[in-house]
């Protein structure tokens, strides 16, 4: 068979015990598990991630799955994958290109091989390389039999056959027996990278506790995969990636959606408010609904509404009643919620609106990531309806961002838009578990009876925040009516007076602008202090931009990086920061939405770098953009000097 480049030193009849195999040290590895939607690749990736986290590497993950729950088996649209990047140093992204590809069928190979680094390792389940499956994946001839994979180290293994053999004792039908092949693959890759296995074994024991045969089969397949790696001649080398030095403390691995859900629960606890989530299922936000539904003992009510509009409507009703109202959705849901968001702006009630962005417009790319709802978040309502907009920068940061969104909503009595995205939602990273005692308190300012029998003015404003007090029903003397019709300043009664309307529109805008009083100044990362090019991002591009900046610096390029958590209002020093650089690059997974806002606000000629492929930026790609920008200003300067 062509295309196999086993390492010479390992090939020659070594003893099969693992201690006699060669161990090679690496500083980082990117592995991609790919298979059919039904092959359990997300679970496999997830378990490998947990093992890696337990081992102490820094890591970052990127699941990638089709919108269809089960696309036709064996086809390209049905391919699901999970990429994990782990290292002995701190890393920022799931990696541009995998070093290892595990492909469970021809379609998984076809869909992913182009991303693999030259020289990378390919492990395929040769059992699935039948004529029929090859045809489904668009192969005329088997890539295992020609030299199309000559650039890689290919290991065609009968994973299915070996799995079936390994689980023969448990009385499963062949089909059920073969289902454990993902665990065989996991066992093998776990051996290759010296992962601790206890947690996975414990996980399998508990997950399949009620189905002993399935449990035993999975455990046996996992162990068989491990021993196969240890004994076979095909794998002569195993690898060691030392734990990464991380700040001391206790860590766990966490996805963006879980972190966001925890942030909402924490917000309820830190404010003393009951949490009410109104939501309608939508990809990629549903996991927040699922997660919150598990935590009713925190006083969290979850309401699966009849539609997106009812989801936010019920949340707003709960906010009116004094709860922390939250609604979670993706872009199409925001479109439907727009009118109610406008009502929340008008009523001046706290509300956290989570948009886990995905490819748009319309249904777009439900399972792919994008940042193209920024302008919708900013302006997607009738009338002057400003609201604060914030974005998390990494999966774990979704926790802090949720708490910050709730803080602003409650403090300023306003709906707040929290812009996560599919990349953050499903991606994961190690999280330094916060100390609950160190979390910020959120203080709701509830209305009290005016002194001396004075009239209660529901829209009188706090001198500091410019927000009206919160007056939920149940307090005698504070009875009042709110509504979507313009309100008279102070009383909140209906008013069509033109001057009053002008004042109220400005009041609401001024209140949102005041949020900037409590936003920290933007900090710029510019180690040399020599940079003339600044890269500015927002949201989930933090990791890729950071990695791109590092790669550029490694080439000796001076470049500065800063990242926005608060997009509306902006931090007070943003204009000054922008003007301190000759060239500002704004990479976005849209067609330049933040760039538009920056140009409008600061009259600074920022340079957008835009991409909407449904995938995050690669670090090498961004390093190249940075290098080009630096070169262009150097050329420019040369020309000017001439």
């Amino acid at each position: 068979m062509k295309g196999h480049h086993f390492r010479d030193d390992a090939q020659k009849g070594r003893a099969l015990a693992s201690e006699s195999k060669q161990v090679e040290k690496l500083d980082r590895v990117v592995i991609r598990f790919a298979g059919d939607s039904g092959d359990g690749m997300q679970l496999t990736g997830d378990r490998f991630t947990q093992e890696t986290a337990a081992f102490g590497n820094d890591l970052s993950t990127l699941p990638n799955f089709p919108a269809e729950i089960r696309a036709p088996q064996g086809t390209l649209p049905g391919v699901s994958s999970f990429q994990v990047h782990f290292a002995d140093h701190d890393i920022l992204t799931p990696g541009d290109r995998p070093d290892v590809l595990v492909a469970m069928n021809p379609a998984a190979l076809a869909a992913n091989i182009k991303d693999l680094r030259p020289g990378g390792i390919v492990i395929v389940d040769s059992h699935d390389f039948t004529k029929r499956n090859l045809a489904k994946a668009g192969y005329d001839t088997s890539p295992l039999d020609d030299d199309s994979l000559a650039d890689y180290q290919v290991h065609p293994l009968d994973l299915t056959g070996m799995t079936v053999d390994a689980v023969a004792d448990f009385g499963l039908g062949r089909k059920d027996a073969a289902r454990s092949k993902n665990m065989f693959a996991l066992g093998l890759v776990s051996w290759m990278y010296g992962r601790p296995t206890d947690a996975t074994l414990a996980y399998l024991e508990s997950k399949f506790a009620s189905k002993p045969a399935i449990r035993d089969a999975n455990v046996a397949a996992f162990k068989a995969g491990w021993y196969f790696g240890e004994t076979t001649e095909a794998f002569a080398v195993s690898y060691e990636i030392a734990p990464a030095p991380m700040a001391s403390g206790r860590y766990r691995n966490i996805t963006g959606n879980t972190a966001l859900a925890y942030g909402i629960i924490a917000s309820g606890q830190q404010s003393g408010l009951p949490v009410f989530l109104g939501a309608y299922p939508i990809t990629p936000a549903s996991d927040i609904l699922h997660e919150l539904s598990k935590h009713k003992h925190f006083g969290v009510t979850t309401f699966q509404a009849e539609d997106e509009i009812a989801g936010i409507g019920a949340a707003l009703g709960a906010s009116f009643g004094g709860a922390l109202g939250v609604t979670t959705t993706s872009g199409p849901g925001i479109s439907l919620k727009s009118e109610t968001i406008g009502l929340a702006v008008m009523l001046e009630l706290p509300l956290v609106i989570v948009d886990v962005q995905r490819g748009g417009p319309s249904t777009g790319l439900p399972t792919k990531t994008e940042q193209s709802d920024l302008l919708q978040a900013m302006f997607g309502r009738n009338g002057e309806a400003p609201l604060p907009v914030i974005a998390p920068q990494s999966p774990a940061d979704c926790f802090d961002a949720a708490v910050e969104a709730a803080r602003i909503a409650v403090t300023y009595r306003t709906p707040v838009m929290l812009l996560s995205d599919g990349y953050l939602a499903n991606g994961s990273e190690p999280w330094s578990i916060p100390d609950v005692d160190a979390l910020p308190r959120i203080e709701p300012a509830f209305a009290t009876l005016p002194a001396d029998g004075a009239e209660f003015l529901p829209y009188a404003r706090d001198p500091e925040t410019h927000a009206p007090a919160w007056a939920p029903p149940g307090v005698a003397g504070l009875e009042h009516r709110v509504g979507g019709i313009e309100k008279a300043d102070g009383t909140g009664n209906i008013s069509y007076d033109p001057a009053n309307h002008d004042r109220m529109v400005r009041n609401r805008a001024a209140k949102v602008a005041r949020v900037a009083d409590t936003i920290p100044d933007l900090v710029v990362d510019d180690p040399s202090g020599e940079a003339r090019v600044l890269v500015l991002g927002w949201g989930s591009t933090y990791g890729p931009i950071g990695a791109g900046v590092r790669a550029a610096r490694a080439q000796g390029i001076d470049v500065a990086h800063t990242h926005l958590r608060h997009i509306h209002p902006f931090p007070r020093n943003l204009g000054k920061v922008l003007r301190s650089y000759d060239h500002v690059i704004v990479p976005e997974m849209n067609l330049g939405q933040l760039a538009l806002l920056l140009r409008a606000e600061f009259l600074v000629d920022v340079h957008g770098y835009d991409k909407v492929t449904g995938m995050p930026f690669g670090s090498e790609e961004l390093a190249e953009v940075i290098a080009q920008a630096v070169k262009s200003i150097d050329t420019h300067r040369l020309e000017n000097d001439r």
Binding site: Y262, G321, R481
Partner: protein, 362 residues
């Protein structure tokens, strides 16, 4: 493989619609429930009569005024909350049932009322209405049906008769109207009633029953719009015709109508439907006795079909259905209590820490 279901715990829940809501310290008056806002409906609008009746009735509830909330949508009747000195929200078109659902679910101590119209509830907000009814959230929905769009100046509504000539339908409207009672029964509402704006006694009686019902009570109120659809309900209001037009429904009573009770409802044994007949000695014992508490909604639905879909010359009035069914909000709160009971009050540090952790030493 089908998704497992779980048997919900036997509800140990209140059956009284007002349970859990604090009682007023002293007797209140209608005046206390009247806000300082000038009422701005057209002269002669049926909404005035309903407002007066509600202001007169609310003190009888005996609840603290601050624990009563009116939520409305958009339309003439939706201005209602501004005229009551309770808490209130005038929200957006069609969404009041959704907003009230969140409010009622998160606050068991509030008496929640929704004010809506035929356009608000049945057109733009139809989805929220049917889902509120099937969930059975503890609240009362007052559906002002004037069979026309008033606020937008006279287009036909989802309850207008076919062929209605309006500004938007100069050659006559084409769509078949909804019968709100049939719709509510189809949505499995647990309390469904109809009353008339000008019949204060009946209106007040129905409101009392609706408030006392635990779950969603839907009350359709025939309401005259003298500006755009004047006289829509004249046949059932005019003393000369009303006895022939109104079929009064009283639980436990034979369903008879006519000036001398000479008409009655009987079941047609061949088709199973309900038919009005001239009562005679031969059929007297077949006259249906109204059973609003029947678990099966079939009869209530059949009775609702006796409502004219065209010009209203005949309509059953009263409580069609009133059955006990656990209220969504009670069950939702019970799940929270159950979760605390089995898991204890949530411990945030424990949650954030989780089960799969590792420690980096300094």
């Amino acid at each position: 493989m089908s998704t497992p279901t779980t048997d919900l715990p036997t509800p140990t829940l209140a059956r009284d619609g007002l349970a859990g809501m604090p009682a007023a310290d002293a007797k209140q008056t209608g005046k206390e429930f009247t806000s300082d806002q000038e009422v701005r409906w057209c002269p002669g609008c049926g909404d005035y009569a309903v407002l007066k009746a509600v202001q007169g009735f609310l003190p009888d509830l005996g609840l603290k005024r601050e624990n009563i909330v009116f939520v409305s949508g958009i339309g003439c009747s939706s201005r209602f909350p501004y005229y009551l000195d309770t808490y209130g929200m005038h929200s957006i078109h069609g969404r009041a049932p959704a907003i009230a659902t969140g409010l009622a679910t998160s606050r068991s101590d509030l008496s929640v009322w929704v004010v809506t119209g035929d356009g608000d509830a049945l057109s733009i907000g139809g989805n929220h209405l049917i889902h509120a009814l099937r969930r059975n959230v503890n609240m009362t929905i007052l559906l002002f049906n004037n069979r026309i769009y008033g606020l937008t100046k006279g287009q036909y509504s989802p309850t207008s008769e076919i062929g209605k000539v309006t500004k938007s339908t100069p050659m006559g409207s084409l769509d078949n109207p909804f019968n709100p009672i049939s719709l509510a029964l189809g949505a499995e509402a647990s309390f469904v009633a109809r009353t008339i704006d000008t019949d204060r006694n009946h209106l007040t009686g129905v409101l009392r029953e609706a408030a006392a019902h635990r779950g969603t009570s839907l009350v359709e109120i025939y309401q005259n719009c003298p500006i755009f659809n004047d006289g829509a309900f004249d046949t059932i209001k005019d003393p000369a015709t009303r006895d022939h037009a109104v079929i009064p429904l009283v639980h436990g009573q034979p369903i008879t109508y006519g000036p001398d009770g000479e008409h009655g409802l009987v079941r047609n044994p061949a088709t199973g439907t309900i038919e009005p007949v001239e009562i005679s000695d031969a059929n007297r014992d077949q006259v249906l006795v109204h059973d609003a508490h029947a678990d099966d909604p079939t009869l209530a639905f059949a009775i609702s079909r006796l409502t004219d879909g065209g010009h209203l010359d005949r309509a059953p009035i009263g409580i069609f259905r009133q059955v006990e069914r656990p209220a969504y909000d009670d069950l939702a709160r019970q799940q929270l209590d159950t979760a605390v009971g089995t898991m204890g009050k949530g411990n945030l540090q424990q949650l954030l820490t989780g089960n799969d952790t590792w420690t980096i030493d300094a």
